[in-house]
Symmetry: C2
Subunit: 377 residues, 2 copies
Amino acid sequence: VSAVSAQRAGAAVGVPVAELETPALVVDLDVLERNLARVASYADEHGLALYPHAKTHKTVEIARKQLDAGAGGLTVAKSEEAAIFARELGVPLVLHYPIVGAEKVERGAEIAGEVPLTVAVDSLEAAEPLAAGLRRRGVVAEALVELDVGLGRTGVATPEDAVELAAGIDALEGGLSLAGLSVYPGHLRHGGSADPGAGIGRVGERLTETIERFDRAGLRRERVSGGSTATLFASHRTPVTEIRPGNYALLDRAEGRGDFTLADCALRVQATVVSTSLPGRFVIDAGAKTLSDAAPPAGLDGYGFIVGRDDLALAALSEEHGHGEALAGAAGVEVGDRLEVVPNHACTCVNLHDRIYGARGGVVEVEMPVIARGMVR
Amino acid sequence: VSAVSAQRAGAAVGVPVAELETPALVVDLDVLERNLARVASYADEHGLALYPHAKTHKTVEIARKQLDAGAGGLTVAKSEEAAIFARELGVPLVLHYPIVGAEKVERGAEIAGEVPLTVAVDSLEAAEPLAAGLRRRGVVAEALVELDVGLGRTGVATPEDAVELAAGIDALEGGLSLAGLSVYPGHLRHGGSADPGAGIGRVGERLTETIERFDRAGLRRERVSGGSTATLFASHRTPVTEIRPGNYALLDRAEGRGDFTLADCALRVQATVVSTSLPGRFVIDAGAKTLSDAAPPAGLDGYGFIVGRDDLALAALSEEHGHGEALAGAAGVEVGDRLEVVPNHACTCVNLHDRIYGARGGVVEVEMPVIARGMVR
């Protein structure tokens, strides 16, 4: 059956977005480039190095645009993502995830032999075998000690713990070169109880205290890395020297507020109404396997924003069905109608797809393979 | 960087599951085959045709096991899934999703020329162009009129509507051949307010009423298709002639109860503890991009069941982090420990991966490419 081969590379270039078979993941390149330029300009203005997190888009094409806009390298979460971007782009990489396990140590060392590699570390248990693996290959990676600042995920618990771990890394016999600190203030989100503006002050205080302790102990900390799109434009209020936002490139319902708006959401899912058989309801061909089943962001309901249709809600998702509801006074919805959806979470949405269509002025300009999709290790 | 090529096909055959690089998706083949045999035996005992829904596993290998166990064909949700299974296995397919759009009509017609194709229909707006497309190719697909029985998703609202649509399909000039009815009682789930056992009686009554109306109108209804794993073993209490469960093959936290138990959950994610830096917490390398961010099933908390460790909970997921909590009195968890996780939802979990490792007695026997993953159209 040749119907599958209709997915051949490049077939959609020049096709109007409105004519793409649905569901289709489309990035508006003008909006994307505006987002990239805005953040690059902010980073430049405040003298911050920019390492965009490639987990959001997982494409070479968008990564290249980020580098062209002034990024000094890329951030990745998995060693296989790192391997792909090292091979494809050969730029400095920040692997901001604990590297645990013999295969990952080996892969990390291999990558460190190809490009300048920085790793985040929150335990000596992980740091020691990694350093040994790097030494075996005769390569070095820079290490950032990760400090938890409130999210409660990875990162050591206290400034004292950070100093202890940094000293431990310093005492290793090569492989890892202590370069500083890293934080991820992912607990500060718009729409929730933890206001990003108020919370970032406490993050800054925590970092300042840790830096002072590093200095007293004579530990290197020329790099201080911050992350997160929600607090991006407050980065200069903290003592970070570099940032690694990811979501800012595409944006979504969760992050398209605060300093951003829905108009900045470059990623849209083109969908088609496939059923209107029940009163007040409709179904689109974009469910959890197209949008991801990311929960509604704090303060919002539903599983996607239907662009230009405030009279419609996406109330729930099955695997392949988006469950639509027509609100009071809604205009009609008919089988075959096309709708455009901003997903709750761009990063998990992209991760479900093999390609993103890059469009300008409503016409596909480029197909971007989600090359690092499926790189779970 | 050659580290990526470590994913070469077949490299894991013969490797102990405990030595697979994590995260890794593993199916216990003995458990899988027991599930398949049990359901095939039930269907056989009650004279029900079995069309397992391939969306759960999206692999040729598991589909073949289902066919070998006695399935008459497969169910799929997307036209691209249908194209793949038609090409790979050449068996009868039930495309249980509204076919809307010129490309999908074309693909459907192409598939109907390759294998016996059945489609579910809930509107004449979708049925008419589909029938025309089938006629253009000189092929025929059987049509099942979908009736909503309480989920509120697709399917016509009432028995009267079902008769009207069936008559409309019958009046078309070929392409679609009316064969009967279809329902999906997906609102009946364990752990929620709608008890499957009590609810299935009402589904049966609704179907009986519709069948009687079909008979009075002289409409064909030799096939009556039911679905859903939660109500699987009550199918014979309703007037269905065939069933199309999907989840029963792998099972998960949502469906591994009621008639099934967690011991029947064939799908497990092998994960590694990568951080224990915060008191009472730990992080595993399986987050929403590995397990899917499927919400906790009704009546349960958390994002996965950690096998054999009732003292540990998987409280939340980031994209690549599983946020673990050690409950009161928990035994230790150390960086590098391996844990085995039963996901909340097998179908959305599998859909994130490129391969499933099929293991027997703790050793990988086969790598199964998730061949229909990414077939969103």
